[in-house]
Symmetry: C2
Subunit: 280 residues, 2 copies
């Protein structure tokens, strides 16, 4: 690309405000949320999230990436009589149940251990047709073997990753291994690559486009990370809103070395609710 050295261009994000929220809101048909640092931080919901999501839900569809795995199975005609093994937490099992699928594993298998004895066969359900892997704080050797056997031995078994985030804010004070850790472990044993349905895959966007004819230009990606959430939204052609409730500070955003500029930024998701209340 050509660069014009004689021109100084300052690209800045606009602070969301009661003045500019209406035009943004009118141009958007779907909001896509990153969760960690946006909806919750550690084990706490970020202030004002419930009322904001309730308000948005009454006007638009809302999709979170935890819903994407179940939706992937559904739109790809995954048979209802096949089961889904889950390395991950309760939310994935709930979404699978809502979509009409039978999930196995998850937290329930967190306390299981293995018997490494002669003539002792580790058995797995041959009707498992997909293994969904997400963040799992109860990861153990039992689950790793179960998921691996399904993927290696059940013909056509899918390997689906909710996302590949390396780390996440499981507590407010520090980062912890994210879904990318468990996904990599299963890649390591199966020597296969997963179908990723959350970031950085555009599966959800493609789904919204196909199902509701919502173009990505009518979507707003809301996230707390410049180099993943915002870049991902921009690459997909979405409007982008950076919230400062997660890992990015205002000085990170304004730092001259930063090259990723969202369309808008604000302190937290609940500002959307408040600014809409206040707007002229």
């Amino acid at each position: 690309m050509e660069q014009n050295a004689s021109t100084t261009t300052t690209v800045t994000a606009t602070a969301l405000s009661p003045q500019n929220i209406k035009p943004l809101f009118k141009s958007i048909q779907a909001f896509l949320f990153d969760c960690d640092g946006v909806i919750w931080k550690g084990d706490k919901l970020i202030e004002g999230v419930p009322k904001t999501l309730e308000m948005l839900r009454s006007q638009d569809e809302i999709f979170s990436s935890s819903f994407a795995a179940a939706m992937y199975l559904k739109i790809n005609g995954f048979p209802q009589d096949k089961k889904v093994y889950v390395i991950g937490e309760e939310g994935i099992l709930e979404e699978l149940a809502l979509a009409g699928y039978t999930g196995l594993g998850g937290p329930e298998d967190g306390k299981k251990s293995v018997q490494l004895k002669p003539n002792c066969l580790f058995d797995h359900d041959k009707s498992v047709g997909a293994v969904v892997v997400g963040l799992d704080q109860y990861i153990n050797y039992y689950k790793l073997q179960y998921g691996t056997l399904c993927i290696r031995e059940n013909p056509g078994c899918l390997f689906i990753a909710t996302n590949r985030d390396a780390v996440g804010h499981m507590t407010d004070l520090q980062e912890w291994p994210g879904a990318g850790c468990m996904v990599a472990a299963i890649c390591g044993t199966t020597q296969k690559e997963p179908i990723v349905v959350g970031k950085p895959s555009t599966f959800m966007m493609d789904f919204l486009l196909k199902k509701f004819q919502v173009d990505t230009s009518k979507m707003c990606m809301v996230g707390d990370r410049l180099d993943t959430d915002i870049l991902f939204g921009q690459n997909a052609g979405c409007k982008t809103l950076l919230v400062l409730s997660g890992v990015t500070t205002l000085s990170d955003l304004e730092d001259p070395s930063n090259t990723i500029h969202p369309d808008y930024y604000t302190s937290k998701v609940a500002d959307v609710f408040e600014f809409l209340e206040q707007c002229p």
Copy 2:
């Protein structure tokens, strides 16, 4: 590469026998052993292994890959006052202790769990200067977080993998996640690549060459897998001996589709002992 269709070349491995063992044995100064399927299978030692290793040890040096991590630290001047966190089993801790290092983690951390609560900081030892990752049947979220924090937060902390085998015969009836599973999990959270000291790294061979002036042509790689052990030995310039006590059968070896031919093959490691006893 050019292929001559008019010539049929049959490349075959030679069966080890009382007749040819002496010349082989005389040409070899060091044996390198794969363990799984060669020394043990599942939780059992393969028949005749102790007496064979004892005999070899009395004549040559023997190196197993479980020893390689400790040796790597030693020859790279890893300070004795730094600690080593282990994601793996007792053998790694034993080798570290023999080399004079303080190991942490391992089986002891297999029953620890994490507290994902606000204001609860997961603490780690700042004097850990290396994390060694191998096969770990007691893998859990505690160890994954501990290893990740050391690698991410302790300046210069090394990330060492004993090997990257996808699976191994933890029981005689089936394969289980191997060291490659745990190593990949830590790659997933740290976004770093490990220093691999076992297969397929040539670290041990380089070490033997440097320390004892043993050239790889004077080494014999003993393994049960054609596409890893034997190929690895061949690529490094070693003599190779396939044992049929692991995953490879004689028909696999003789199958026309097989392109990897060891110098010798035999049913099990103990044949070396027996043929030497019987040889003229």
